[in-house]
């Protein structure tokens, strides 16, 4: 029987083809950063028989960086994502450092982390207010012509003006110091391309304190106006039970976007820590016939891969909620207080998919505190920011936490320092299987007996937007 359903579903999902079954195509999924679609197949009673979320892109970065000089690659692979180019740029540089055996001077490392954390700030503002907020400010059932950031601008002009201004200020802080903010070039194998002057530090510090004020405002605003009003159905939208993956500081298990050990947590909260060099032992990638994207899973659990919501196998999640679940604490005081409140309410690990938004704003607060901390450190202006590197044969694995999850860049080079092979696992990909499970859950909860409304379909998309793919 299962086989017949599969066969019919396959037909139904076929690009451009139809079948006897009723199929709903949410295409494209909107207010996300990538290209994806959802197909929902209804059975004869009009209930959800099957669902699929498909990531549509296959650009081939892993292949076409073969042969390129490794030091050039960090400013090629940043084009994987125009929203988190700093994270790819940084992970890639770390991988090249590994290939060339580079040692990074302390100020070079500090500048790398500072830029990465600053970029996280802008991303979180962008996601929460421009992409996610319309569902909450205008409501999930508002007409699509107003349920967008322009609608938010009309409904809450003062808030919108402040958000636009602060995000813009954040982008300009990076651009002014590092030249290029979208598709950066300032992180280089061996360190950073330019030191920070004292005047630049003072100017950025002043602005970063304004950002911190803004982050506090955002979190309070969202708690009062969004999170306090979530009804039970919304809180449970897309809820699934999974494990989690994120990076923590090896010494005290605190949240760390920039470096540390990878922590893989099981649904019961037990976990294993591992070095990025061991990623392929702990994680595997499954392939389905119907998706270009792969489906990472926890290979080390030894249970294989399954997206069956009743009995998932190997499924873990990444991104904001995952990081807050795996970390033991947060090293900055305001964010730590928020984490404690969050944990006391939702436990550890928290599983509700909607909590990704809340976790995102706690991370925004952490990022702002962290930036101030870095800029208060006068040693960040040490002019020694890069050690020369020597192209040679080697292997390097570079990891960082992107807004969308753990990035893994694994490269090998030949004796001339040209890339011979590369393997990448990028943030959103880790969440492809969980997103598929969440849309199944969401679709089943909002579509019954053949009644399909625009609001119901938007609710299915809301489950996806939590993951910010």
């Amino acid at each position: 029987m299962a086989q017949t359903i599969e066969a019919t579903a396959d037909q139904a999902f076929t690009h451009g083809a139809g079948s006897g079954r009723r199929v709903i195509n949410i295409q494209p999924i909107t207010r996300i950063e990538g290209h994806a679609r959802i197909a929902i197949v209804l059975d004869d009673e009009g209930n959800v028989a099957d669902t699929r979320l498909n990531i549509m892109a296959l650009r081939g970065f892993e292949k076409f960086i073969e042969g390129r000089p490794a030091e050039e690659v960090p400013r090629i692979v940043n084009r994987i994502c125009g929203i988190c180019p700093w994270m790819h740029h940084t992970a890639s540089n770390k991988a090249v450092d590994g290939c060339f055996g580079a040692k990074i001077p302390p100020a070079g490392k500090k500048l790398r982390e500072l830029m990465l954390v600053m970029a996280q700030i802008n991303d979180k503002i962008l996601h929460f207010f421009f992409l996610a907020a319309p569902d909450f400010v205008l409501g999930p059932g508002a007409d699509y012509s107003v349920r967008n950031v322009l609608g938010v601008v009309k409904a809450a002009p003062e808030l919108a003006a402040r958000v636009v201004k602060m995000r813009q200020a954040g982008q300009m802080m990076i651009e002014k110091f590092a030249g290029k903010v979208i598709h950066p070039v300032a992180v280089v194998p061996g360190g950073f391309s330019k030191p920070m002057t004292e005047a630049e530090r003072q100017e950025l510090l002043e602005k970063s304190r304004e950002q911190l004020d803004f982050a506090i405002f955002c979190l309070n605003w969202a708690k009062k106006n969004v999170f306090a009003h979530l009804d039970d159905a919304t809180v449970r939208l897309g809820e699934i039970t999974t494990g989690f993956l994120g990076t923590v500081d090896p010494t005290d298990g605190s949240l760390n976007f920039f470096e540390g050990v990878l922590r893989l947590m099981r649904p019961d909260g037990s976990y294993q820590d591992f070095s990025h060099l061991e990623y392929a032992y702990y994680l595997g990638e499954h392939v389905e016939d119907w998706a270009y994207s792969k489906f990472p899973y926890a290979r080390v659990w030894g249970e294989g891969f399954s997206m069956d919501p009743e009995n998932p196998k190997g499924i873990y999640r990444v991104n904001t909620l995952a990081r807050l679940n795996v970390c033991d604490k947060i090293s900055t005081p305001l964010a730590q207080a928020e984490l404690e409140e969050f944990r006391s309410r939702f436990g550890r690990p928290a599983q509700s998919t909607m909590l990704y938004h809340w976790a995102r704003l706690i991370e925004l607060l952490y990022a702002c505190e962290k930036v101030v901390e870095h800029l208060e450190d006068p040693e960040i202006t040490d002019p020694h920011v890069r050690n020369p590197v020597e192209p040679k044969a080697g292997r390097g694995v570079g990891c960082v936490e992107a807004p969308r999850g753990t990035l893994i860049h694994d490269y090998s080079t030949d004796k001339n320092g040209l890339i011979t092979r590369a393997n990448l696992i990028v943030g959103t990909t880790h969440n492809v299987a969980p997103m598929n499970m969440s849309i199944r859950q969401a679709a089943q909860s909002v579509i019954r007996h053949g009644v399909v409304t625009e609001e119901a379909l938007n609710r299915v998309e809301m489950a996806v937007r939590c993951y910010d793919p």
Partner: protein, 313 residues
């Protein structure tokens, strides 16, 4: 009457759309004059009806005066979306170097699809080896990465990866005022304040394995040109624009990093590699000292400029 705008992204990274948002407060002043009818990154208009039960053979994009498209064309869906945009929009703007010249994803044109699929699905270190996903359930991948104008007619080209917000603002304002946009048409070097001493000493390029020589306390106008320092700076063969329209310096140069050519060729139909070889040769710099020629075309590899290497490579 606000101008209707439709926006799409194809084989792209969303950086071009973030560049639009980076107009910041300027965006808030232009917005009342624009009416977005379709823009997947911000708005929930769907291809096959809002309830997802429309005809899958008929991808619907509302009529608009202006169509913004970022990204090149890599699969059948990109092609269909591009064609639908062309049918619905009076003026098509190719937004960003991926759309105008293929951009970074056109590096894929050095390889063929079987090599990609083999690596991606069979030999990758973390992947359980599997047949590549079947085409029937997915938009088929085209034989290579195309710039937009290889498949549909383009009216305005906005080069840049991504285009500077000043250029986007100028293009939008020009459209609102019913005139041609005034975009930079010289080279990055023309906007670069560094000191050039002229022909002479440099014989070979070297790789960017150490930082440039400069005094961080001093402005760029006191830094020696990075090409003359021996780095592969593509400023001479790259379209100006990243310095914006208010007299800033080129963005990478501000980071003290050589230009990688992200605005594509100076003349729209130019060839950055040929131009660079000529520029080096006329300055008596050894053209064989370029480590990897593909990097000179890494933003403009569509239009048949980057080709497959011999089998096995």
């Amino acid at each position: 009457m606000p101008v209707k705008v439709a926006s799409e992204w194809l084989n792209s990274c969303s950086g071009c759309e973030v560049a639009i948002l980076n107009l910041g407060e300027t965006l808030l002043t232009v917005l009342p004059h624009l009416e977005f009818v379709h823009i997947p990154v911000l708005m929930d208009h769907k291809y096959f009806g809002q309830r997802g039960e429309g005809d899958l053979h008929h991808l619907e994009i509302p009529q608009a005066t202006v169509g913004l498209i970022s990204g090149g064309i890599r699969n059948q869906e990109h092609l269909e979306v591009a064609q639908a945009m062309r049918r619905s929009c009076e003026i098509i703007i190719a937004l960003g170097t991926c759309a105008t010249h293929g951009g970074i994803p056109a590096l894929m044109n050095l390889f063929d699809n079987p090599a990609l699929l083999e690596r991606y699905y069979r030999t990758s270190e973390s992947t359980d080896p599997h047949d590549p996903p079947a085409d029937a359930v997915l938009p088929p991948i085209l034989d290579r990465t195309y710039a937009l104008d290889e498949k549909i007619q383009v009216d305005i080209y906005l080069q840049g990866c991504p285009p500077h917000p000043d250029l986007i603002a100028e293009a939008l304002t020009a459209l609102l005022e019913g005139r041609e946009p005034r975009l930079p048409d010289k080279s990055v070097c023309d906007t670069c304040p560094t000191i050039r001493l002229g022909k002479g000493k440099l014989k070979k390029l070297h790789r960017f394995t150490h930082n440039a020589h400069y005094d961080p306390a001093k402005p760029l106008s006191e830094m020696h040109c990075l090409l003359e320092q021996g780095f592969q700076c593509l400023g001479p063969v790259t379209r100006a624009g990243c310095a914006g329209l208010s007299g800033e310096a080129p963005q990478c140069i501000r980071a003290r990093v050589p230009c990688q050519g992200c605005y594509g060729p100076v003349r729209k139909d130019g060839n950055q590699l040929l131009d660079y070889l000529n520029a080096l040769a006329s300055n008596r710099i050894d053209v064989h000292s370029i480590t990897d020629r593909a990097t000179v075309l890494e933003f403009s590899g569509a239009h048949g400029l980057l080709k497959r290497r011999a089998a096995g490579k």
